[in-house]
């Protein structure tokens, strides 16, 4: 009975295989998101899929169940074993995968960091595709919030984890702008709190902010989970008039709050374009039409000219996209 | 004496016809026919394992008979479960009170009553009132709103009895209800039992104490080895008759004590105290001597043995082995000093049920079978098979799980385990409980031989004849204290019982006995 059940289970699994053998002539790309069930990456995957349909490359995606530091490792090994040409990955950790990525590269696999980089471990990947120049994100957010609150009053930041590298880059830039730009002289950053990208913790932290700082005028939450949780908190506390919120969020997640006025505007970029660019870059590199040199440029349909910057980083767009009631319905991701 | 029924006149309330019960193919009850009359108190007597408790459980629906029928008021009935029994008006008061320790006394009284819907409301106030009324009736002072957990065993037993009263049963079966009770409580119980009988209810009373049976019961049925031997009016038999019927031959025939020379003090215990269990216990056991330890269940005998052996060490007091004062905080310390302990509860404290006989026998001698930590199989096998031969343990293979052996052979294996440690002091706690008559005799012989070989033996037993026949001296405990130290000549049924019953209520013994 034991045996039977298991064999049945395995037989069931046979039915679920997504592709057995990979064609030799086409460039094969695999994309490993942070975790499964994360809507942000669904849109990014779509970019890959569409680009590969156009370019004629093979594309698969495989994701671990949790966004824990080590969970992507078996996937990298397995994909290397499958003999893929390109591994694109949104890393869960800036350093835990160094060795396994090196091993993949030794076997001739092109490793691309997508949407997040291996900060300070650049030598363990070939290139990185990031949505925007991350030095511009922080000031952009400060300016957006400033415009909402008349450049005056107490503000706070609700971030992801204390160690999230991208968020920390942005926050540092925000602090720098607030300190140096006289335009923001009357904006006073009173707190930085961290919701760990968990809905429950983010909610409690946002509630505590409203509670602890009764004169709070605005919150910046540069993370999709955080900004949604903060919007929910402001909505249920009925403080949309007094506390302004902005941050980085996905249109689908934020749509109800923009529609009911809880949030006037927030920003993000197009994850779709990241997939689109990554696929074009990878195929071009494999075909020899693009060279992975700092400073070299190439053309990508719909995106225009892309330049490879310092640390082999390239961006899909120059500025953040701002979403508000006027344009939010044009986006679906 | 209200001996109003001595013969079977009229229709019986309950008749058993050809009741046979098998467990895993083994007959523990054979073809039992028995009539229980209205308005009688009917004693079931027999040794442990004779089948009386099994029979009681069949009456109460705990077990279903393998063959045979039960007739209630002349028509056959299926007593398929305890609930079914309850619906038929049959209540069993278990040997060990079965209660729900976290629930209140009042709740314990009504729980499982079959009337009322499952989602019906619990009438708390009514329940408490009724429970108090019952307690008054029984003359016990128990706070019925408190959980059962805090009650003494005796009080728990009284609650059980109260439950039987409350359930308004026609047939009440009491399985050794008096074991934990004080004589005063026994007296109350008897009063109530008589009143119930006079109301026309039937009571089945299981006890080991002949004097209680004489004081209370109208008729007795004697079981032996799964057979019903006889049902007669209590007055028609003498104690000697009853004992003969229970064990199949007279006591003298199977209890024999070989003389041994008594030597120096092997085990000396002074002022041993464990608050709540026993206090100020002092005695000594000499080489070659068999010292009995008698008393009622719960008197603290087993606790003293466990304390000496280090299972649950005493809080204060001194123990000396072979003249040297020692500290024993764990059984392993005791074993190193040459002590051995055959515990009362063989199933949980004695055997390793699923492990081989061989492993069971060699469990206490790790150093001998594995001088450098690695077990020498051949040596182990030799030691074990030697013991099997010596003690005549009946088995199919040394590798057989010990659980497959009969109780007597299991007990022999446990004894074999301890003999391999070559102990100078052996503590035997109810060594013959639940063992076949035939094997029992073998045990008595062995105990005698062990003493003759110069070992000191402390024998705890609830069976008076066993104590009287085997021991050189009999100690008696009551309420956690040593109340008598009787020489072989002083020790009689009466003197031991006299010392065993609690002092606080001694004056009432005459009524009970």
């Amino acid at each position: 009975m034991f045996k039977k059940t298991l064999l049945a289970g395995l037989a069931l699994s046979v039915a679920m295989i997504s592709g057995v053998a990979l064609a030799q002539d086409k460039v094969s790309i695999v994309y490993i998101p942070k975790n499964t069930g994360n809507p942000y990456f669904d849109s990014l995957v779509q970019g890959f899929v569409d680009a590969c349909a156009e370019l004629g490359c093979d594309f698969t995606t495989a994701a671990p169940a949790t966004a824990e530091a080590t969970s992507q490792i078996p996937f990298i090994t397995a994909q290397t074993q499958r003999g893929v040409d390109v591994i694109a990955i949104s890393p869960n950790s800036p350093d835990a995968m160094n060795q396994v990525l090196d091993r993949a590269r030794e076997k001739g696999v092109l490793v691309l960091a997508v949407n997040g980089d291996l900060v300070d471990n650049y030598e363990h990947r070939d290139a990185a595709i990031l949505p925007v120049d991350f030095t511009k994100t922080g000031p952009g957010q400060v300016e957006l919030l400033g415009s909402m609150i008349g450049y005056e009053g107490e503000i706070a930041i609700l971030s992801a984890t204390t160690d999230a590298p991208d968020q920390n880059t942005w926050i540092a830039a925000m602090e720098n702008s607030l300190a140096t730009d006289p335009k923001y002289a009357k904006m006073n950053l009173v707190a930085k709190v961290y919701g760990d990208d968990e809905p429950q913790k983010s909610t409690t932290e946002a509630e505590a902010l409203l509670q602890t700082y009764p004169n709070l005028k605005g919150i910046i939450s540069p993370t999709t989970v955080g900004v949604a949780a903060a919007a929910q908190v402001i909505q249920s506390a009925g403080k949309a008039e007094t506390v302004k919120l902005t941050g980085l969020g996905t249109p689908n997640q934020m749509r109800p709050f923009v529609k009911d006025g809880t949030v006037q505007a927030f920003q993000l970029w197009s994850p779709y374009n990241e997939g689109w660019l990554a696929a074009h870059f990878a195929v071009g590199l494999k075909n020899g039409t693009i060279s992975n040199e700092v400073g070299s440029t190439f053309e990508v349909p719909n995106l225009g000219s892309i330049t490879i910057g310092e640390h082999n980083v390239m961006n899909t767009q120059a500025e953040l996209t701002t979403f508000d009631a006027a344009n939010i319905d044009e986006f679906n991701f | 004496m209200h001996a109003n029924i001595t013969t079977e006149t009229g229709a019986p309330l309950m008749s058993a016809r050809g009741i046979t019960k098998q467990f895993a193919g083994i007959e523990v009850l054979r073809n039992v026919d028995l009539n229980l009359m209205r308005g009688e108190i009917h004693a079931l007597l027999g040794e442990n394992g004779a089948g009386k408790s099994t029979f009681a459980k069949i009456l109460a629906g705990v077990y279903r008979p393998t063959r045979g029928t039960l007739m209630l008021n002349g028509s056959p009935v299926e007593v398929s479960s305890p609930i079914a029994a309850q619906k038929l008006g049959i209540t069993l008061i278990h040997q060990e009170p079965i209660s729900f320790p976290d629930l209140s006394v009042a709740e314990n009284l009504v729980l499982g009553r079959t009337d009322g819907a499952l989602l019906g409301r619990v009438p708390w106030a009514q329940m408490t009132r009724d429970a108090n009324a019952l307690m008054d009736l029984l003359g016990v002072r128990i706070d019925v709103t408190k959980p059962m957990r805090g009650l003494s065993i005796a009080d728990q037993q009284m609650v059980e009895i109260a439950r039987a009263l409350a359930s308004d049963s026609r047939l009440i079966i009491m399985d050794e209800p008096t074991a934990p009770l004080t004589p005063k409580e026994v007296e109350t119980l008897f009063k109530i039992a008589r009143r119930l009988r006079d109301e026309g209810r039937t009571i089945v009373f299981i006890s080991h104490r002949l004097e209680e049976v004489r004081a209370l019961c109208d008729r007795v049925t004697i079981f032996r080895d799964g057979d019903k031997v006889e049902t007669v009016a209590t007055d028609a038999l003498t104690d000697a008759d009853i004992i003969r019927l229970m064990i199949g031959r007279s006591l003298k025939e199977y209890l024999h004590k070989t003389g041994s020379t008594i030597g120096e003090v092997a085990l000396k215990v002074e002022n041993l105290t464990l608050p709540g269990f026993f206090a100020d216990v002092s005695f000594e056991v000499r080489k070659g001597e068999i010292v009995g330890l008698g008393g009622l269940v719960g008197a603290g005998r087993t606790d003293v043995a466990r304390a000496i052996f280090g299972v649950a060490p005493a809080a204060s007091g001194r123990v000396a082995v072979n003249g040297k004062e020692v500290t024993i905080s764990e059984p392993s310390d005791a074993i190193a000093l040459g002590l051995a302990f055959v515990p009362e509860d063989r199933a949980t404290a004695g055997i390793f049920r699923t492990l081989s006989v061989e492993q069971n026998i060699t469990a206490a001698i790790p150093k001998r079978i594995a001088p450098n930590g690695v077990i020498r199989r051949a040596l182990e096998k030799a030691l074990a098979s030697d013991s099997v031969k010596k003690l005549r343990i009946r088995l199919a293979s040394l590798r057989q799980p010990i659980g497959e052996l009969s109780g007597g052979n299991q007990q022999k294996a446990i004894l074999a385990r301890w003999l391999l440690t070559d102990p100078s002091v052996l503590i035997l706690d109810e060594p013959t409980r639940g063992i076949d008559i035939g094997v029992k005799a073998e045990f008595y012989d062995m105990i005698g031989e062990l003493a003759a070989s110069g070992r000191a033996i402390l024998l705890i037993s609830s069976e008076l004849p066993e104590l009287l026949a085997l021991c050189d001296r009999v100690l008696v405990m009551s309420e956690g204290r040593l109340t008598a130290n009787l020489s072989r000549t002083e020790a009689t049924q009466e003197s031991v019982m006299h010392a065993a019953v609690p002092k606080t209520a001694r004056q009432t013994v005459g009524v009970a006995a």
């Binding site: 034991f2 045996k3 059940t5 298991l6 064999l7 395995l10 699994s13 046979v14 997504s18 495989a62 169940a65 824990e68 530091a69 080590t70 078996p74 090994t77 397995a78 074993q81 499958r82 350093d95 835990a96 160094n98 060795q99 091993r103 204390t162 160690d163 | 895993a24 083994i26 523990v28 442990n48 394992g49 099994t54 040997q95 060990e96 052996f309 299972v311 764990e330 005791a334 509860d345 063989r346 949980t348 404290a349 004695g350 390793f352 699923t354 492990l355 206490a364 790790p366 930590g373 690695v374 077990i375 009946r394 199919a396 590798r399 057989q400 659980g403 052996l405 385990r417 639940g434 063992i435």
Partner: protein, 333 residues
């Protein structure tokens, strides 16, 4: 109910016949595990052409071998009638202690020693709570698993600590006769523990304790000492596994080995160790560890979604206990 059992057996006239030897050998949980292992290898090879490559399987096995190493000791704990659900958290905390010490400037050798000491202490805390305070181990270790993981988080925050010396990193890439060092370690530990359990007095006593703790105490077996020792051994082996993981990842985070306890319990259960104690073998756990490696690796390389992996793991756990229970119930009589 025990008293009725005693009455039952007391009247057994003659001992029942022993079971034939071949039956005893064949109807064993380990036989099932072996059959499953062979089946899994066949199915996995058919699922993906990339699977049947010993080097790849060995490399992939290093991701699970740390758990398998702990599972070996957990087998002893479960045979002795207890359970420990905290080893994954102990791995994380001891590794965090190591990394924290190293970062604070303690020489790496001493940091490793500190990690071992932490492991011993954690095991001791478990042991004391279970043995001295007589609390049920299953719930105690649920408490300490939360506590240890929490302390790891307090100690390391959510940073990843790395930058260990080169010689420390990448133990999984050091090969002895083409076999990664951790795998060698696992095999050696299996042999040693199998010998301890099968041929020594301590091993024998672990079975006896698990069969009946009361009887073991009465037979003079030092139950408390052995059980405490086993809990401490869990701490030590968890610490070693934590260091292996740290070496493999070249970095340490508090969320290392998250969810590992389920995998460890699964390995032990799948190997036919009886959940109520007293039965089980190291061989079973050894085979089950490889079974798990094969299943997980096979599914990952065949690109089977994590969804099915979770379902298969859950089903395997339940089915394996049912099967083991059934087998033991058969031989019990």
């Amino acid at each position: 109910m025990n008293s009725t059992e005693a009455t039952t057996t007391s009247t057994v006239r003659d001992a029942a016949a022993a079971r034939p030897r071949w039956q005893v050998l064949l109807i064993r949980p380990e036989t099932m595990t072996l059959a499953l292992l062979i089946g899994a290898i066949i199915v996995a090879s058919n699922l993906s052409p990339f699977f049947s490559d010993l080097g790849f399987i060995l490399e992939s096995s290093t991701y699970y071998i740390e758990y398998a190493l702990v599972a070996l000791v957990l087998t002893l704990v479960i045979i002795s009638g207890e359970i420990d659900l905290s080893p994954a958290a102990m791995m994380a905390l001891s590794a965090c202690v190591f990394a924290w010490c190293y970062q604070a400037g303690v020489p790496i050798e001493l940091s490793m020693a500190a990690s071992l000491v932490a492991g011993i202490l954690m095991g001791l805390v478990n042991g004391i709570l279970v043995i001295r305070f007589q609390l049920p181990s299953i719930i105690v270790t649920i408490g300490t698993l939360t506590l240890y993981r929490g302390l790891a988080q307090v100690l390391a925050g959510d940073r990843s600590i790395g930058k260990f010396p080169k010689w420390f990193n990448g133990i999984d890439y050091r090969l002895v006769f083409d076999v990664p060092v951790p795998v060698i370690l696992f095999i050696v530990a299996s042999i040693v523990l199998a010998l301890v359990l099968g041929t020594t007095v301590v091993g024998r006593q672990i079975y006896q304790i698990g069969t009946s703790e009361v009887a073991a105490r009465h037979a003079g077996i030092r139950v408390r000492r052995i059980k405490t020792g086993l809990f401490v051994l869990m701490g030590i082996v968890s610490s070693i596994a934590g260091l292996l993981t740290a070496s493999r990842l070249a970095s340490v985070r508090y969320d290392m080995a998250t969810g590992g306890e389920l995998q460890m319990v699964l390995m032990v259960m799948l190997g036919g160790t009886y959940i109520f104690g007293g039965r089980g073998t190291i061989l079973g756990t050894f085979l089950a560890s490889w079974l798990l490696v094969i299943i997980a690796t096979g599914m990952t390389v065949a690109n089977i979604a994590v969804t099915s992996q979770l379902i298969v793991m859950g089903l395997l756990l339940i089915v394996s206990i049912i099967a083991t229970n059934a087998i033991y119930a058969r031989t019990q009589r």
